[in-house]
Subunit: 677 residues, 2 copies
């Protein structure tokens, strides 16, 4: 479908290349293959049937070697973590359950063996992981400990007499919970447990623990429960596991970071228990990057459906011979969908950047502690906003397509929304992740205060060298606060200025972080209880600061992306799109900006009006903007984008045309009564 605007033309090919990012070919490859029905979700199945289907799809993926690009070439991989995640994110539109079950198998279970195990362990287990002869479980979360992995209660106690570890869940709260592959298919698990030897607890380590025999029966001491029917992703067999003094060989400890010799003596390459623990959780970071990237794709898919329908559907009166407006011609519909379209572009650009950073660390190109921590913080914030945005986008897309949108088997919005839902809390609850970001922002702020050069906002945003990811944001240029005191307060030009937008987004993070820091300062030397109390009073505001930070990252990524567009007309349209993202985001928090004098009351009004106008201005390009995502009917599989709506309208118009021509059209009551008089 081509642009509906008579003046400007958007170059879809250029834009699509930009959207697909550095691993465009990998994305295209997997996206294309995912058109095959063998990989598709099917509706109206019981969870047992969905699980069987999903397992078959995993075998298909494994047999055709479509997975494992992050693994060493020795095992058929390409040692390319970025390409791996980019391809993973393209499986969502086929069947999210397949994607997530694959993520459990190759992204969590396999990755843990790869990153935490030694070469012998690799050779022993990775072939089975990759060809799916060894379906496995990543057994970290416990019932009593969701996000607090450091305090899990499962123990792995070294028994020198037998040269074995004893894996034990001492009470029900220590049972491993919500584990994919645990209810039915898992033959083994990587179990995270407190390593105890010589009566010392060395903290969380990972152990390879066989679960089931070849007939699928639990091995002695192992037990579990099926988690049952979930809110979504019912093709994944989640369950609980418990271990009653289960013995495994000492060599089943994945010992890259810490080891026990046959006398029971512990040794480690990372003496700091905190850092060791951090490294142990590496697979979770990959998970967060994967979820963020998937969420951005998911939003793009939903909007392709809703915008396409909005461009066809009319509440038309075929009898009147007046062709009425399509839904997207309505001002409200534009704000509902085009605002979110702009935000989805921001989501895609920021996740593309995140993916590059991830690849930098996980490929070893720049795997410093500092860069890894930076990645962790970026992944946490970006995963939180992109997954929430996706949930919001699906709900709006569903409502914007009315009853048709609710027929899941025809238009998929609800089914995909249900699968996405858990993304907001898995691999880390979004609010917990934002708190992690917030603590980091506070830390950087206090470092900055003690630094007389006072030149940075946050270390990981601006302190990096010129050629790295977030430096380009040029945060240093705008440490002075913006205030809206310009004489020309009635102009929208100020709002379109890139530097002004940057200042607004930057100032907000800075001010919000500073406020929380100021609130915490008086209790800095008081008791932990007192500090916790004041921190708690400011938790809500700190989370808001973290959200503001994530939005700054989105804005920066979008603005950076603009620079890569050579075609003038495309660049113009994309700049409006960036502006709409910026201004609708600011509009959502306008109270803050006015309260703090960043935007004057007069300009606030201009902003609200101008944001409406921007959405209207982008309206003729909305179809091009969604078509640039590159999804075809095989990916969408939505009745509302199939063209049947237009066919029905044409049929109805033709019917009335004939009826009028024949003179058989009944007279409306009003006309009849008027004639009577």
């Amino acid at each position: 479908m081509s642009s509906q605007h008579k003046d400007l033309r958007l170059d879809q090919d250029t834009l699509q290349e930009l959207l697909l990012g550095p691993w465009a070919e990998d994305r295209r490859q997997i996206r294309k293959i995912m058109e095959e029905p063998v990989f598709h979700h099917q509706f109206n199945l019981t969870k047992e049937e969905q699980r069987d289907l999903t397992l078959k799809q995993l075998h298909e993926l494994a047999d055709r070697k479509l997975i494992g690009k992050a693994y060493p070439t020795e095992f058929g991989g390409k040692e390319n973590p970025g390409a791996n995640v980019a391809g993973f994110a393209e499986m969502f539109h086929a069947n999210p359950s397949m994607q997530i079950k694959g993520g459990v198998q190759w992204g969590l279970f396999g990755s843990a063996i790869l990153t935490l195990g030694n070469e012998e362990q690799h050779r022993k287990w990775l072939p089975g992981v990759l060809n799916l002869e060894l379906p496995g479980v990543y057994a970290m979360t416990e019932i009593g400990h969701g996000s607090d992995v450091g305090n899990i209660d499962t123990t792995a106690t070294y028994i020198p007499e037998n040269d074995e570890f004893e894996i034990h869940t001492p009470f029900k709260a220590a049972w491993k919970e919500f584990l994919g592959n645990a209810a039915v298919h898992g033959k083994a698990a990587v179990v995270f447990a407190q390593l105890i030897t010589q009566n010392v607890n060395y903290g969380v380590h990972a152990f390879f623990v066989p679960l089931r025999d070849d007939d699928g029966n639990f091995l002695p001491g192992v037990g579990g429960e099926d988690d049952g029917f979930k809110g979504g992703l019912n093709g994944v067999d989640n369950g609980r596991l418990h271990f009653t003094q289960v013995r495994i060989p000492r060599t089943n400890l994945l010992n890259k970071l810490g080891d026990v010799d046959d006398t029971g003596k512990y040794s480690t390459s990372i003496p700091s228990s905190g850092r060791r623990f951090f490294t142990m959780l590496g697979a979770l970071v990959q998970g967060r990057v994967s979820l963020a990237t998937t969420a951005a794709n998911a939003s793009a898919l939903a909007l392709t459906g809703a915008v396409s329908y909005g461009n066809q559907r009319r509440q038309f009166n075929a009898a009147s011979d007046i062709e009425e407006q399509v839904l997207l011609d309505y001002g409200l519909h534009q704000r509902r969908l085009i605002d979110r379209l702009a935000r989805t572009y921001a989501d895609i650009f920021v996740t593309n950047d995140l993916l590059e950073k991830f690849h930098e660390v996980f490929s070893g190109a720049d795997d410093t502690d500092e860069n890894r921590q930076e990645l962790e913080t970026l992944a946490a914030g970006i995963k939180a906003v992109t997954t929430w945005n996706a949930m919001d986008t699906y709900q709006e897309a569903r409502e914007a397509t009315g009853g048709a949108g609710y027929i899941a088997s025809k238009n998929r919005f609800n089914a995909l929304r249900d699968d996405l839902d858990i993304y907001t809390t898995f691999e880390g609850d979004n609010n917990v992740l934002l708190q992690l970001v917030g603590r980091r922002l506070l830390g950087d702020y206090s470092k900055e205060l003690s630094n007389p050069s006072f030149k940075v906002l946050t270390r990981y945003v601006a302190e990096r060298a010129e050629n790295t990811l977030y430096q380009r944001s040029g945060l240093r240029r705008v440490v002075q606060q913006v205030s809206d005191v310009g004489s020309d307060r009635r102009s929208a030009a100020w709002l379109k200025d890139t530097d002004v937008q940057r200042s607004l987004f930057t100032d907000r993070v800075r001010t919000q972080v500073a406020e929380v820091a100021e609130a915490l300062r008086p209790v800095a030397k008081k008791s932990q209880v007192e500090q916790a109390r004041v921190f708690n009073e400011n938790q809500y505001d700190l989370i808001k600061a973290s959200k503001s930070h994530a939005q700054l990252l989105q804005w920066e990524a979008f603005t950076e992306a603009l620079e890569g567009i050579k075609d003038d007309e495309t660049k113009k349209i994309m700049t409006w799109t960036r502006d709409l993202f910026a201004l609708s985001t600011i509009e959502d928090d306008l109270g803050w900006f006015i309260e703090y004098g960043k935007i004057s009351q007069q300009r606030a009004r201009i902003l609200r009006q101008y944001t409406n106008r921007l959405a209207a201005r982008l309206r003729p390009h909305a179809q091009d903007l969604v078509d640039s995502f590159g999804y075809n009917q095989h990916h969408l599989r939505m009745d509302i984008t199939s063209g049947v709506e237009q066919e029905r309208q044409d049929e109805a118009m033709e019917y009335y045309r004939r009826l009028r021509a024949s003179g058989d059209l009944p007279v409306p009551e009003k006309v009849y009564r008027a004639r009577q008089k």
Copy 2:
């Protein structure tokens, strides 16, 4: 569970009585019966199995005479529309599919026969409607016409030769769509069609049309399709129907509002075709009132689950012997749940008022045109906000209960959310409904301007006599605009003042409506196309005005409810709850209030801080506030409220107590290393 606050005590019994409203006994009766497992939703069934289960439940309802309170005593009813809807809303927590399928049968299909048919038709069909021997379809919506019922394309043409009507869907866009009972169970339908006789189209009328024979096969000329697997409510068999020159006797026209004699002459008791059409859609108003009331109940159920869990769940470290905070002790968690708890109280109070108004009209106690229109407008706005609030509440409750919340078969949040989803667009898309409210507000505004006494905001809000519903809001007292110019700008006292809150909410509606009206004024005498263009530019802002209006209604209902509380301590807690509703609602739109000078920048800061404090102040009462809703474990059926969480914590604490006592607790690595040094 009792209050956790040492000072004030909330009187749950009094509060519950207030919440249950004027039909408390009817609610209690149905709520109690709904504890029986026979009425409960079951998980992991195919849609076919769900449909069978739901049909059985409808038979159980019919056999036990639990439905039909709105019907005449002649047919076993109580002629009590209010009691009927109050009871209906209590079926949600058992099985929403049962509720909605029952709503189709007795609230739409049966109501249409009752309100639009004559006495002979009543005697002929209503007994079968009520005892479910005649399962039926309410065939109004068409594929091409969602919310635009006036322009439906199905025709009913009178054929004098045979004294019959011919029902016909001339093309696919005219097929009847999204009809409950249509896919499988419906034996007959009330079909809405353009009545044509003597070549005049008299507009939309309702016809009784048999659909299937006793073996469930379509009758000649009737056809249809199954809508398939939906986003929720899969116990309801939605489908499409089409009619190819289907003949029915003339006496199958439900002829209370308009009739055709055997010569083909049309007659009507309502000469205005517009008013006749409006009356024809009466069943939809009952539907909107029912959905709003249900949505308020649904939010209460979700928050009972999430708050109870928040009061038990800890990310605790059993090994450390320090009992950590429960989730609800965290500032963020308080804002997430207690804000929504306050809003749910507002939802309940405003739907209780709406229900009274509905009863007034539908019982005939005050069934004037004016009062009916007032009801339509109130129902439209309140249905929109309460159903959106419920969706938002379910999502937050799900996330606030983490992975446990995602296990639908154990904690139901997702399943109930999926069922609720369609409430936002059925019986009228929420945005379309708000536009209806907005047009009404604009109309009232222009009337007001032409009225020199200038004393009212909107007719249906304030022009009613002293003893009617919304008069009590005393809007007349505050026609002067509030501005925040007080000298004591640092005080929160101003924000707690009931008159100030009233002024803030009232002024916002007034100003927003006035702005749109002003924007429309210059084109008032221009072409329809030009008027439509400017209206469209302001559509987004008009919808915001309508939302503001609905929030004003909520605030008023809550404030009115406070007056009914005699117990001082309960009243105090409830006043804080009302304040939290008011201030968190204002906080969400703070930009508007500052921009328009209603709240000063200084006060805005106070407001944000005070809102945090209010949530914290209510925290000790949160359990009492949800327990007052009155749901027990049979209604909740949630693992997280069953007490297992506390049991697990106790078991873990006991384990570590014994381990420490025995001296077998391993030494933490850090302590060990410190000793080594």
